[in-house]
């Protein structure tokens, strides 16, 4: 039993790194993702293409490859071109890669959130003399972000698990902690079971919380628009 507790304890040492890399990644992902979503939904064709290509490339390549390129490939190519470059800490490229990776998924979440905003409310805002910027700031984004909260929570859970690949890049997060301890103690089973338990105790409550949020939003916020639409559809029918 003691050796399993030890396994959990060792894995826990990597947890702060896992958590802050994930949090920074999703926060950065939201900022970049918002930009990508706006580009995708905007009028400019080139911007749309750039955004589409970015999203497809990020989603069709493994994050491990992206992380290896960023952490080792980039300094190498810079050095061979005479630029003296070295990451001060591997956590930095790790956060950058996770943020850029997450952005591709967040962009899709935000795009569908923006498109889920009631078009009637957008028209009403324009009819009151608002500019496009005001309509976005006052009506579209607040509602879209709210609609997206559960999906963004899921993205955080996914990112926490995904950061496990950073162990292979040399970032000492949960998996890497377990690996290092395994290398000196040869307690392979307790080491990795301990790591899995640590992910479980973080991710399980988080997903439950996301589920609750989703349920709460179904009960209030977004539903009155749906109800109005139902009313509206009913009125349309009775007209005919």
């Amino acid at each position: 039993m003691g050796v399993y507790l030890k396994g959990v304890e060792v894995a826990l040492r990597g947890l702060p790194t896992t958590l802050y890399v994930s949090l920074f990644a999703v926060a950065g992902g939201v900022v970049i993702g918002l930009l990508l979503a706006v580009m995708k939904l905007g009028k400019s064709k080139p911007a749309k293409i750039v955004s589409d290509v970015y999203i497809e490339v990020m989603r069709a390549t493994p994050m491990l490859a992206q992380a290896l390129i960023m952490a080792y490939g980039l300094p190498m190519i810079l050095q061979s071109n005479g630029v003296d470059f070295k990451w001060p800490s591997l956590v930095i490229p790790a956060i950058i890669v996770c943020a850029f990776n997450s952005a591709a998924y967040v962009a899709e979440i935000l795009r569908s959130g923006i498109q889920a905003v009631d078009p009637g409310q957008i028209e009403a805002a324009y009819s009151l003399g608002m500019s496009k910027g005001m309509v976005n700031k006052l009506v579209v984004w607040p509602q879209a972000l709210r609609i997206c909260i559960p999906a963004l929570g899921n993205e955080l859970v996914t990112m926490i698990k995904e950061t496990s690949v950073l162990g292979f890049v040399g970032v000492v997060e949960v998996i890497r902690s377990a690996q290092l301890w395994n290398a000196q103690s040869f307690e392979t089973f307790p080491a990795y079971v301990g790591a899995a338990i640590v992910y479980l105790i973080v991710c399980f409550p988080l997903s439950k919380l996301v589920g609750l949020l989703e349920k709460k939003m179904d009960e209030d916020g977004t539903n009155d628009v749906k109800n109005d639409r139902k009313l509206f559809a009913k009125a349309e029918k009775s007209d005919k």
Binding site: A124, L128, M130, N227, D228, L231, A235, D239
Partner: protein
């Protein structure tokens, strides 16, 4: 004064509005009636360019509406929708003050004071701080009217403001609209409420298949319909 001159709007191959003209003088109430799909909403939405007309012009106070002066023009021309379209992320008072604060740059305190007065006018001051979702349909529509009034518009466009409401709530909304008409507000109202049109309209347009078939005062339209199409329509709606 609002003038619509030979407005044309196409949706693909469908000509929804075909060279429709209308004039609304200050203080006048124009009602637009007609069967479903006749182009009433589309014509109304062309007035504030929610639908950009494919032909013709809209002139308000001698100024032609274009992409350039659009936001300014919309400040003068508020709109009330069939499906209310209240902002679900804001409180009732927030709905009313959003545009005065952001578009008119009115100080927040002043906008809220005025918002409360408008809520009193529509009988809903006790609902100022709740979200629209907790209101009934009739209450939502009265808030939407207060929101429109908050911009001090010269004219208000109504697109079937009561047809998404349960029958027992229609009256409360029509009452507010009658009060507005009496106070001299210029209004264009697309409606299926023939009683309201009869009582309040200075001028009525009957549309069918994208064109104006008949136009006249309430007495002329209801008392002495000239065309067969209007007679048929009235027979159907005035049961």
């Amino acid at each position: 004064m609002l003038e619509a001159k030979k407005i044309v709007k196409n949706f693909g191959a469908l000509r929804a509005v075909n060279e429709v003209s209308a004039t609304v003088s200050d203080g006048e109430v124009l009602c637009i009636i007609g069967p479903s799909g006749s182009g009433k909403s589309t014509f109304l939405r062309c007035m504030n360019h929610l639908e950009v007309p494919d032909g013709g012009t809209i002139v308000i106070d001698g100024e032609e509406v274009s992409e350039k002066n659009l936001t300014g023009v919309r400040e003068k021309m508020a709109m009330v929708f069939q499906s209310f379209n209240l902002f679900s992320n804001m409180t009732v008072l927030g709905n009313i003050t959003a545009s005065p604060i952001h578009v008119k740059k009115m100080p927040k305190a002043e906008a809220e004071k005025k918002g409360m007065e408008l809520l009193k006018l529509v009988g809903l001051e006790e609902k100022a701080h709740v979200k629209p979702r907790s209101l009934s349909g009739g209450q939502k529509q009265r808030v939407a009217i207060a929101r429109a009034l908050a911009m001090d518009p010269e004219i208000i466009l109504f697109d079937e403001p009561t047809s998404a409401l349960d029958p027992e709530m229609v009256g409360e909304v029509l009452d507010v609209m009658k009060k507005l008409a009496e106070s001299g507000m210029t209004m264009v109202v697309v409606t299926h409420e023939m009683g309201f049109a009869k009582e309040v309209a200075d001028d009525i347009i009957f549309m069918d298949a994208g064109t104006i078939v008949e136009e006249g005062s309430a007495e002329e339209i209801f008392g002495n319909p000239k065309t067969e199409r209007l007679k048929q329509f009235l027979d159907k709606v005035l049961v």
